[in-house]
């Protein structure tokens, strides 16, 4: 062992960048950190585009500007954002309540299956229904399906103390296989040339659209209303506040006498229900039939959205728009510039990582200092 390394460290001390604890967490950086991480993501993107031999300015504009160009693009953005908003809202509530549900994808599929089954029933029985009357039915079916899938997680956690992270994740694969079985088996369209897909739903069994000729449906507006509702629940409703106490300080929740079981069930049923509604909107909206690919990984992407949005309902809306931009930008970049569409996945990852890194600035600030850091190393 080198004798007394600390002394030499002191003598050789040179000016360096140093993290210094803030007296209080910075409110500014709580909101600036997502923006800063977006800047980092753009810088990484520029380097990546250049390395792939593409014009970075053009590629970036395709990626980040084109999705906002014109009403049609905007409606497509809203269409992608809808399931992300719904799933991330529920996840934000879960994560704030210290319930680590990462299986929104499975709950989404469960909702999609139940609502899809309902739409198939209307289609096959040829029951006349108009789209406006169908909306509440789709919402209920989706919510029931998703909530049921999440209830399995809650029950196993509540009764057997099973880890909800594992259970919710594994149920995603169960839901996926169940959906595959349905569309490969009993619900397969007999006239579908053996493709794994159901018949197309009847015209009445679908989400009403906002603009004629565009796919955006009224579910987008309902998702925005859900965000407002969730914001009120978290900030103005006693139960919502209690659940956050349970997440932040479990001993304080016990001291106050708040029920952890109630928080667990509420968080899981709510997030499951919202994810299920997202699935219902997707199959009865843009898809119009059931296929094995009814999800675009929305349930998993929503985890990133929830954190980018600071686990705040309105932040979730912005996060959803941002991640939808990546999804659409990735498709456009593939068709227009010839970039691999996997890039949008890369950007999601870079964004999440740089967000976690930038979050350091909420509790610390950077300082240039002549003195070397002395304390941290040893304590």
């Amino acid at each position: 062992m080198a004798p007394q390394a600390p002394w030499t460290l002191v003598r050789k001390g040179c000016s360096m960048l140093r993290l210094e604890a803030r007296p209080a967490p910075s409110r500014l950086f709580a909101w600036a950190s997502p923006l800063l991480s977006l800047v980092v993501t753009i810088v990484v993107a520029t380097i990546l585009f250049s390395a792939l031999g593409k014009d970075p300015v053009k590629s970036l504009s395709v990626f980040l500007i084109e999705p906002f160009n014109g009403l049609r693009s905007l409606t497509e953005l809203g269409l992608k954002a809808t399931p992300l908003i719904l799933c991330s809202l529920g996840l934000a509530l879960c994560f704030r309540s210290n319930v680590w549900n990462i299986g929104a994808e499975g709950q989404y599929l469960a909702g999609a299956m139940l609502a899809g089954g309902l739409a198939l029933w209307f289609t096959e029985q040829q029951v006349g229904i108009n789209r406006w009357a169908f909306v509440p039915l789709a919402v209920i079916a989706g919510a029931l399906g998703g909530a049921f899938w999440a209830a399995i997680v809650a029950l196993l956690r509540d009764r057997f103390n099973a880890n909800e992270i594992l259970v919710s994740l594994m149920l995603v694969y169960v839901a996926n296989l169940l959906l595959s079985w349905l569309v490969f088996g009993p619900w397969k369209d007999p006239k579908g040339f053996n493709f794994p897909q159901s018949v197309s739903f009847a015209d009445g069994a679908a989400m009403p659209r906002i603009f004629t000729g565009m796919r955006l449906h009224w579910g987008f507006v309902l998702a925005l209303l859900a965000a407002v509702g969730m914001w009120l629940f978290m900030s103005r409703i006693y139960l919502g506040w209690q659940m956050q106490v349970g997440g932040l300080a479990p001993a304080a929740a016990r001291y106050a006498g708040f029920s952890t079981r109630r928080a667990l069930w509420t968080a899981l049923l709510t997030s499951g229900g919202l994810a299920g509604v997202a699935g219902a909107f997707e199959v009865t909206g843009p898809m119009g039939q059931l296929t094995p690919y009814v999800s675009n990984n929305y349930g998993f992407t929503a985890i990133i959205v929830a954190f980018v949005g600071r686990l705040h309902p309105l932040g979730c809306v912005f996060g959803s728009v941002l991640l939808s931009t990546f999804l659409i930008g990735g498709e456009l970049a593939q068709s227009r510039v010839g970039l691999p569409s996997a890039l949008s996945g890369v950007f999601q990852g870079v964004l999440l990582f740089s967000l976690l890194a930038c979050d350091t600035l909420i509790h610390y600030r950077l300082r240039w200092s002549a003195a070397p850091r002395a304390a941290g190393a040893a304590a």
Binding site: W7, A252, A375, A379
Partner: protein, 523 residues
């Protein structure tokens, strides 16, 4: 030659100047008190000496040589040991493993375990080296820290509020140890706010206020009043303790038996106590003897109490939730302020809603204006220094947060208030204010139960005293008939009527004593 000499030490933190041109001289073998309120800069100064914090200005001489102490390892290499007020122990490791981490690596764990046993025997510090730290009470953790420091055979030992968790007899014993260490040439920096102890133990006293030295005195020549004037700028207010006027029985605990929840908890055995309206009952005891378990059973956080063992105004509340008990008028101030009594990251306004639901409508709708107003009222009424109702709980000093929490519960108009460690880590001014508020509450007819490890405090405010030891509760004694020596003896489990002395710690002793009691009864 001085053992340690600090000249012109200053340390600026982002929000506060913690040390301002501080000079300190410690001679070999000297027991040197550093006196000051919370926030006076004592802890920062000690961390500078221990290498955990770097001063902005000033020089440090160790045995005459100028040194720059870069980190605690280096401080330990020089022969400086420190017992922190806030413990630096890893929860998941055992006491012995924690101690081992701070020692030279040539020693093996079993040797360390043996040495810990030896040191704890020599100095009367009861420590089981094999127990994981997360199962230890606050007091037991501090004992581990003291033993860890003594194992390094230091030339300078820094003790930060070391006696708050010891019985009076153990304090005397510790003082014998410290005097012995001092006679062997080890210098001791003794940080405290307990004036009696400083006057009894220390050779020299440096008083800090607002980061500056306000006095250099020989404490043996000073009075409590003169020391506290140096410390807080004025003499502390005298408490007006009028005789109690006890009314109806508020809380009656009978036959409360509660098996421990984890292997290192304390089993409560046949607890009986009574608190009447208009009186303060104090429960003394060394921490880790069942206080936490008793508090959890009374507050409802531990709902396993046998039926009819806890009766509030004639109503069996043994199985009720904390919220239900609160509706019946039982309010509780827990020992841990951050994380239990308050949510650290939430604002003071939000934190009122843990126990106060006036601002919550039946529908569950929160009236945020009313919540803020309640917080503002508490801040004003209880003289809480905070950045307003929006300030997060963790931004407050311990004393101010305690004033806020105690205020929150008193303001609710409780019929029975249970307070655990009302002034733990709270500065003198705030402590006096909290005790005053408890007495005022008593005079208004509320029943008050106080659990504390500070005997001075219990003698100051209680009307009757009971002692908890190894999960059993002593009979009650009016405070006028109690002496410190007697209560100290009871704290080791030796009160009249106990047939066998139980170990001060660990439930095995209690069970044995209980079994013997049964045999005696049978004979």
């Amino acid at each position: 030659m001085l053992r340690l000499e600090l000249t012109g030490i200053s340390k600026q933190y982002p929000a506060v100047r913690a040390n301002d041109q501080v000079n300190l001289q410690v001679a070999p073998g000297q027991i040197h008190a550093v006196l000051g309120e919370n926030g006076a800069g004592k802890s920062t100064l000690m961390k500078i000496i221990y290498g955990a914090v770097r001063p902005d200005e000033g020089t440090l001489r160790w045995n005459g040589q100028p040194v720059q102490i870069a980190n605690p390892q280096q401080a330990r290499a020089l022969g400086i040991a420190m017992v922190f007020q806030h413990f630096s122990l890893f929860d998941t490791l055992s006491a012995a493993e924690n101690v081992w981490l701070g020692l030279d690596k040539h020693m093996r764990l079993p040797e360390v375990t043996e040495r810990i046993r030896a040191v704890s025997r020599d100095y009367g510090l009861d420590v089981d080296p094999l127990r994981p730290v997360h199962t230890l009470s606050v007091g037991e953790r501090q004992r581990v820290e003291i033993v860890r420091a003594l194992l390094t055979k230091p030339q300078l030992l820094i003790l930060d509020e070391p006696t708050s968790v010891l019985t009076p007899q153990a304090v005397d014993k510790l003082f014998v140890t410290l005097r012995q260490l001092s006679a062997e040439g080890c210098s001791i920096l003794y940080i405290s706010h307990k004036l009696d102890e400083i006057r009894a133990l220390c050779h020299h006293c440096t008083v800090l206020r607002g980061g500056k030295v306000t006095g250099e005195v020989d404490p043996t020549l000073e009075t409590n009043a003169s020391l506290s004037t140096l410390m807080i700028g004025s003499a502390p207010p005298e408490l007006a303790h009028r005789p109690a006027n006890p009314g109806a029985v508020a809380l009656a605990v009978r036959g409360l038996n509660l098996p421990k929840l984890n292997p290192f908890g304390t089993t409560l055995a046949d607890i009986a106590l009574e608190v009447r309206a208009g009186e303060i009952v104090g429960i003394a005891g060394v921490s880790g003897n069942g206080q936490q378990e008793l508090m959890a059973a009374l507050s409802g956080e531990d709902p396993r109490a046998p039926a009819a063992s806890i009766v509030l105004f004639g109503l069996d509340i043994a199985a009720m939730s904390p919220r239900h008990r609160r509706h019946l008028g039982l309010h509780f101030v827990p020992e841990e302020r951050l994380g239990r009594g308050a949510v650290p990251a939430m604002s003071l306004a939000d934190n009122t809603m843990l126990t106060r639901t006036e601002a919550v409508a039946r529908s569950g709708w929160i009236d945020t204006t009313a919540v803020r107003q309640l917080a503002e009222r508490l801040i004003a009424a209880y003289n809480v220094k905070a950045g307003g109702p929006g300030a997060p709980a963790k931004s407050l000093s311990g004393g101010n947060l305690q004033k806020f929490i105690v205020g929150r519960e008193i303001d609710a108009g409780p019929k029975l208030l249970i307070v655990s460690q009302p002034t733990w880590g709270v500065d003198v001014g705030a402590a006096a204010q909290i005790r005053g508020a408890l007495l005022k509450l008593r005079d208004e007819g509320c029943a008050v139960l106080v659990v504390s490890e500070e005997l001075d405090e219990l003698f100051e405010i209680s009307d009757r005293l009971q002692v908890i030891a190894a999960g059993r509760l002593s009979p009650s004694v009016p405070v006028a008939q109690a002496t410190v020596a007697m209560i100290g003896e009871w704290m080791s489990g030796l009160w009249p009527g106990r047939t066998a002395p139980a170990a001060a710690d660990g439930a095995a002793g209690a069970v044995d004593a209980g079994a013997q009691g049964v045999q005696h009864a049978a004979a």
